[in-house]
């Protein structure tokens, strides 16, 4: 490379580097510094892992942490199970105009803000809401039932918010699967199940993994949906971080929580990639 083109290269790289450094690396360094300082008096700090110790000694904290992780994983699995047939239908069983229309219909919910969408669910699920009234009307239940403020409601909201991010990569990878491979499978005597398992799913694996990573991260880091639909009793780890920063003014503990969440999402994604034998570059490179 000549000096001139080198300069051009760095200039082009600048926005990316700026973004990485100012918005990701610097805040995290700051967060980490704050998280390892313990408050011992008014404006007196000491370096140590005390904030992390608080987390492990207080069952409410680590239980919420584990709960958030499990529910996010469950949301991811549920989204995959619901999204795969939809994506398969769009990619393989429709063509032309119908395909575009269906794809756009998946996008429609995203034209309104997440807040409005979540309120929509609240209108449906609350005690005096549409679902409760309908079930009373048909006589399935005797009195009004509250469907909001439980784990199920959170799950519904999270799946709804993130399913598009599962469908898009799945449709893309399934689209690239040659129809004649599926036909060849049937021709050689394959059943629906064995063709799904031996041909379609192995081919769609990169799409499945990248969809799962995105949905998992979105669920884990979601704040609005769990708070609004889960209410007081259903805690979410991001809610705890919010409380520490804003309500308690305990930035040190909040930072430690933030760091733990980062470690959690990184390690679960790592384990997921190892289990599915996919590499991150291969998955995201598609």
């Amino acid at each position: 490379m000549t000096d001139k083109s080198k300069l051009g290269f760095y200039l082009l790289l600048m926005p990316l580097m700026l973004w990485l450094i100012t918005l990701i690396i610097l805040p995290h360094i700051g967060l980490f510094m704050v998280s390892i300082s313990e408050k011992i008096g008014v404006r007196q700090y000491e370096t140590g892992l005390g904030n992390y110790a608080v987390f492990f000694n207080e069952p409410l904290y680590w239980r919420t942490f584990a709960r958030t992780a499990f529910m996010s994983i469950f949301t991811t699995v549920l989204t995959l199970v619901l999204g795969f047939p939809v994506a398969y239908y769009i990619a393989k069983l429709t063509r032309g105009r119908t395909k575009t229309t269906l794809f756009l219909m998946c996008l429609i919910p995203f034209w309104v803000s997440e807040l409005v969408r979540t309120f929509g669910w609240m209108i449906l699920l609350r005690e005096t809401g549409v679902l409760s009234n309908f079930l009373q009307y048909t006589g399935v239940i005797g009195g009004p039932v509250e469907f909001l403020y439980n784990d199920g409601a959170i799950m519904v909201g999270l799946v709804y918010t993130s399913i598009l991010f599962m469908i898009v990569p799945l449709v893309t990878t399934l689209d690239s699967l040659d129809d004649s491979l599926i036909e060849a499978g049937y021709d050689l005597g394959g059943s629906d199940y064995s063709i799904m398992r031996e041909i379609v799913i192995p081919h769609a694996m990169p799409g499945i993994v990248s969809g799962c990573i995105v949905v998992f991260m979105l669920s884990l880091g979601n704040y609005l949906t769990p708070i609004l639909l889960g209410g007081k009793d259903s805690l979410w780890f991001t809610g705890l971080i919010y409380t520490q920063f804003i309500t308690r003014f305990n930035w040190e503990l909040g930072s430690a929580f933030g760091f733990l969440l980062l470690a959690l999402s990184s390690s679960i994604v790592f384990i997921g990639l190892k289990l599915s034998r996919q590499s991150l570059t291969e998955t995201m490179g598609r």
Binding site: D178, S180, L181, E183, A184, G185, Y186, D187, L188, G189, G190, S191, S194, E198, I199, P202, H203
Partner: protein, 366 residues
Amino acid sequence: MTTPADLVCKDLTKDFDDFRAVDRVSFEVPQGSFFSILGPSGCGKTTLLRMIAGFQFPTSGDLLIKGKSMIDVGPSKRPVSMVFQHLALFPMMNIGKNVGFGLRQRGVPAAEIKTRVGRVLERVGLPGIEDRQVDQLSGGQKQRVAIARCMVLEPDVLLLDEPLGALDLKLREHMKIELKSLQAEFNTTFVYITHDQSEALVMSDNIAVMNKGRFDQIGTAKELYYEPANAFVAGFVGDANKFSGKVMGIDGQRVTVTTNGGAELSAQAMHGTPSIGANAQIFVRPEAIALSKTAPSDNPNTTPRIVDSVLFNGANSMVLLRDPQSGETLQVTLPQTGDLLGLGKGDTVFADWDPAQARCFATEGA
């Protein structure tokens, strides 16, 4: 016939909306023979083959394999296997898994799958490649693996949809011979579709010429070549010089035609003689035309012609001749012997052919 034919189609028809892709096709393929379906692009070959394989439902007609109707049988249950146009090997599996796929679906024990896969790969000349990946094979090797993957299931009929289309010319020539010998080796009925007439002529026991969804003629390569049933077959199978004109005289089977350029030619009418004054077409094979530097006897088709160009290609050399009066060109095989060897552009030669070797057909729809 003592044993029923392996594959019988009776009036098979397929309509897409208002378009008829396959139109009342009937044929029989006896056990162990190589049957080709030859036709131009878009004539409905793939549609016909997909109906036999079970991927498309015929609108009407019947389809029998080994005497049993296959209309209500799904593709995975039919005793036919298909080699796809782009082979459709599974890239997510290695070669051994690919070839063993069908056996695994049938619940054959793993040890038996291993020996049967090994044996079939040996028979196609690729022993010991079970652990390789699909993208590590050459085009010809993939071809043979695709055939092995079907043959390991011992199907009654093997369907092949232009399997050589993706290969380069040299390999295609080689695979032609290889396919024919594989067919003889497995002694399985092959139904082969192609738009390449030389593939069909070289390999097949029987050939069907398909045009616009119909079978125009079914016969051996020789029959199609020397006794074409109509103008389409005469023009499509093999090279031919084609002249259009009006019928001027009829003498038994011998028809005399004045071409649009004004030349007078005679030829043999095969299937029904056209009437005087009707439009007709004459087909003459390049190798049926004799060339000489001196005017030969009183043959009605002899005319002096000027050499337009010499297309040298070793033993397959051709010469393009132009009729100085009508301007019509004629393609003739150029023998690499005698005084014709030195033929050059602008020379005058006499071209003549026996009218019994030229074919005349009434122009359809005229």
